[in-house]
Amino acid sequence: MKYLSIALLFSTSLMAASPEVVQYMNELSKTAKVQNSSFNGFDASRGKEIFTSTHTGKQGKPMACTSCHTTNLANSGKNSLTGKVIDPLSPRANPQRLTSTKEVAKWLKRNFMDVYAREGTAQEKGDVLTYIMKN
């Protein structure tokens, strides 16, 4: 049991997300499996595609996650509408990231709506989080 918790702590730190966010991702994973029986775990390269590709956003204009966050997650971004600086998304550059499920769920919902004009699926959300964690 002791070794298990040490291993769990170790893997958590490797994953660059807090235990509650890891727990949230486990729930997303379960939902993804229910929605798609061939789902076989989250994938950072799918997440990268979701994050960097351009779509017709909520305003009917081309929009990507990178429109505000830039392609380098370790850098600060800028809100494309207001110009306000956005702190880096990368948990390595910004330890505040991926520490609160409430924050993560809020921004995933909002930003999928802004860029994709729909809410992301559980798999898409998990893929994006996996991509962010690795950057």
């Binding site: 909520k58 305003q59 809100n79 509408l81 207001t82 110009g83 306000k84 409430k102 809020k106 919902k109 909002r110 930003n111 709506m113 802004d114």
Partner: protein, 180 residues
């Protein structure tokens, strides 16, 4: 008459803790004095709500002082957060309620404010008071990258985050002080 209306709006806003513009030092002193008189210490609950408002609304833009719009404007804004000037700014139920209450209790008492089209004002920058105060500001000053739009109060009003909009605190990027 315009001046009197101006002043009464200013007084209403001041009662809520916002310093507005001032054309001369004498009036600034007066405003300062007034503010000192009305300032009440915040309860821990009020402090927490203010912090929540600043964090949530200030994530994308300056957390505007609620005194700039009446309750009905804020209610309309809060009802349409899922499409907030073209972006999804929705909140969870609990935060939504806290922020709506915060805005309502600190809103301007001038409930008849309408925007330039006669509708319930959503943008502070479209209220008659704002338009009048900024009528001499050129388009170039506002659209330059350092300012971007009238939504960025603190690009020029250096103390805007503290709720102070005195004329002597204005520094327009690439232009400098505001001389009336």
């Amino acid at each position: 008459m315009t001046k009197i209306v101006n002043l009464s709006i200013a007084a209403l806003l001041l009662a809520g803790g916002v310093y507005l513009y001032a054309d001369d030092d004498k009036r600034e002193e007066h405003e300062h004095h007034r503010s000192t008189v009305v300032a009440k210490p915040l309860t821990p609950q009020e402090k927490a709500t203010t912090a929540l408002y600043t964090k949530e609304c200030g994530a994308c833009h300056m957390a505007y002082q609620p005194q700039f719009l009446p309750k009905r404007s804020w209610d309309k804004t809060m009802k349409t957060l899922d499409n907030h000037f073209g972006t999804d700014a929705s909140l969870d139920q609990s935060d939504h309620k806290s922020i709506q209450n915060y805005l309502a209790s600190h809103a301007s008492k001038n409930d008849q404010v309408v925007d330039v089209r006669g509708a319930v004002a959503l943008r502070i920058s479209e209220t008659p008071y704002f338009v009048r105060e900024h009528r001499e500001v050129t388009k170039k000053m506002v659209t330059q990258p350092e300012v971007k739009s009238f939504a960025n109060c603190n690009a020029c009003h250096t103390q805007a985050l503290k709720g102070s909009y005195r004329e002597r605190e204005i520094r327009i990027p690439n232009y400098g002080r505001w001389e009336d």
